[in-house]
């Protein structure tokens, strides 16, 4: 019975009389355009997010272990030893301390994070290696490029690094100041870092910030960054509860959640395009049902059940939507290819970390649109199919 209904549905769908051809085309292209519209819009969002992830991954560690407090409660060499043993998952890691201080140049003072690390140990500089312009002179400081620009200093100029908890006096702690030459600049690509970071060799920093409790930081990059949450979970029992473990996903959660919310919102709005296209299917099928009422009456006179008649009409709606969907998917992939090949969507690199947005249509999006099209076309076809079986056979035959 199903194949018979399919055969009849195909024949009726391809039977054009008068205006039904135009309405069929409008319905078909409605689905094509709405499918392509949703897929490309979601593709732009996906492409943007993927690219942003890559850019962020290139500029920040995958996992950060932080500890603030009494040194005696954590065993840093032990933690570093554990990481050494996990070389199969870890690409690189570095250890340093962060002191909170200030920098002064003339009358200008700004709060900074002083990253104290061993300039002589290249292992500790893996995250900065390609981003430092200048020398790694242990007697100098490296400033974030935006910080250097704001202070108006360049290589060779002197700046004052201020330790807020410096010298103990009867009146409390007095700040301690040390003048150091600028030996280089750091360009991480992230404004927050480049505006507020000073790199110092730990031999100098530990003396200057002797009374300041440091934040101990271990930065880890994995071979597979997407493995970060599960790796972080497995690391927790090994290194103890004292460390705060943050993955790159946690750090950027608000950003990606905001982007996904926006993507969902736009997906919902664009869904209305399919709804409108489905209205066309409803109109078309109503006309088709009107045209074929006599045939419907004959099928029913010959004992075909109502479900058979409904199936013929529902299949027509489904076939029209599916063909529109398939062409829409094809159009989307062709446009995706050209947009990516000719880099057609330009954005400002200083704001978005990328000069163009690639389009990335995912299988998940295709499946979502597929299910949506199927559902809406069934709803759209149900109304005329219900109308078809509600018609009185005798009335149809008498009217002829």
């Amino acid at each position: 019975m199903r194949f018979k209904a399919l055969k009849i549905a195909i024949r009726y769908l391809l039977s054009f009389k008068g205006s039904t051809f135009i309405i069929s085309l409008i319905s078909f292209f409605g689905i094509v355009i709405s499918t392509a519209g949703i897929l490309l819009t979601n593709g732009v969002f996906e492409g943007f997010q993927d690219n942003l992830r890559i850019k962020l991954l290139g500029s920040m560690p995958n996992i950060i272990l932080t500890y603030v407090g009494d040194d005696s409660k954590v065993d840093i060499p032990k933690v570093l030893g554990i990481l050494e043993k996990n070389k199969k998952d870890i690409k690189m890691f570095s250890y340093f301390k962060i002191y909170h201080g200030a920098i002064q140049r003339g009358s200008y003072i700004s709060a900074v994070n002083v990253d104290a690390m061993d300039f002589g140990n290249t292992k500790n500089l893996v995250f900065f290696a390609n981003k430092i312009k200048g020398s790694l002179d242990k007697k100098g400081v490296i400033l974030g490029k935006d910080l250097a620009a704001m202070l108006g200093v360049s290589k060779g100029d002197y700046v004052s690094i201020i330790s807020p908890v410096g010298v103990q006096t009867p009146f409390g702690y007095m700040p301690k100041v040390q003048n150091l030459p600028v030996v280089g600049t750091l360009n991480s690509g992230i404004f927050d870092i480049d505006y507020s970071t000073v790199l110092m060799d730990n031999s100098f920093a530990d003396k200057l910030f002797v009374n300041n409790p440091p934040t101990r930081v271990v930065e880890i990059n994995l071979k597979n960054p997407f493995y970060a949450p599960s790796f972080a979970k497995s690391l927790k029992p090994l290194i103890g509860e004292k460390f705060i473990i943050t993955t790159w996903i946690d750090m950027n959660k608000p950003l990606f959640e905001a982007l996904q919310t926006e993507e969902r919102g736009i997906f919902f709005v664009l869904t209305l395009m399919i709804v409108v296209a489905s209205f066309n299917i409803t109109s078309l099928l109503f006309i088709k049902v009107k045209e074929k009422l006599r045939d419907i009456a004959i099928f029913r006179v010959y004992g075909e059940p109502k479900s058979f008649i409904m199936a013929i009409i529902l299949i027509q709606g489904l076939l029209l939507s599916l063909s529109g969907f398939l062409v829409g998917v094809l159009v989307s992939f062709v446009l995706e290819f050209f947009i990516n090949k000719f880099k057609l969507i330009h954005v400002q690199k200083s704001i978005y970390l990328m000069s163009y947005v690639p389009v990335s249509i995912s299988f998940k999006d295709v499946m979502e649109v597929f299910l949506l099209v199927i559902f809406l076309s069934l709803v759209a076809a149900f109304i005329p199919s219900y109308y078809a079986v509600k018609e009185n056979i005798v009335r149809i035959l008498r009217n002829d």
Binding site: R300, V301, I393
Partner: protein
């Protein structure tokens, strides 16, 4: 004694307060070729529709092939009636009602076995028209396709509503000769509504309405 395949007891049908069929009782036996005659508006088509289970009576009892289609004011549910029609009852109409989008063979095979459809169409001298669309056929040919469609399921009852109403005298006689031979050879019960008195000799029995 031959069994009744159709039995109507005191059947009435009222349309918009106007009785179309009133207190009709009749019994049709298996293998009979019955004519229902009467002037226009006498309720011939309505009677056929009730006998064929496509129209419910306003009152009275209707038994089709031993199944009570209507009894004591209750009517058999639509699913069961559809099954009954699909298995045992076929129809032929004055305007043929062939499916325009399908060719001759499909018009018949959609309602039954394809092999049987070809056999019937050959028997009805339509084997050279198998791939023709209905609009490419003459009225007589179209009615023969409709007859093939009606017979492809090997029904027990064939109901024909003015089957020659659109045909000339010669074609009408050909169609009735064909129905008569089918009735004799296959023992199908055939009930025909017509107002054409000239066709009366073909019937075993005539029921007058109005």
């Amino acid at each position: 004694m031959t069994e009744s395949v159709i039995e109507l007891k005191n059947v009435s049908k009222i349309y918009k307060d106007k009785p179309v069929v009133e207190g009709l009782s009749l019994s049709i036996k298996k293998g009979e070729f019955v004519g229902i005659m009467g002037p226009s508006g006498s309720g011939k088509s309505t009677t056929l529709h009730i006998i064929g289970g496509i129209e419910t009576p306003s009152s009275g009892d209707v038994n089709i092939l031993g199944v009570w289609y209507a009894k004591d004011g209750k009517v058999l549910n639509e699913k069961a009636v559809s099954k009954l029609r699909k298995k045992y009852i076929s129809f032929i109409f004055q305007f043929y009602y062939l499916l325009e989008d399908f060719d001759v063979l499909e018009n018949v095979s959609l309602f039954g076995d394809k092999k049987k459809a070809i056999e019937l169409l050959s028997f009805l001298r339509l084997d050279h028209r198998l791939n023709y669309k209905p609009y490419e056929l003459s009225g007589g040919e179209q009615q023969r396709v409709a007859i093939a469609r009606a017979l492809v399921r090997e029904p027990q009852i064939l109901i024909a509503d003015e089957p020659t109403g659109n045909l000339d005298y010669k074609e009408s006689h050909k169609i009735f000769s064909l129905l008569k031979s089918l009735n004799k050879e296959s023992n199908i019960t055939i009930i025909v509504a017509t107002h054409n008195e000239e066709l009366k000799p073909f019937f075993d029995r005539v029921i007058y309405l109005g």
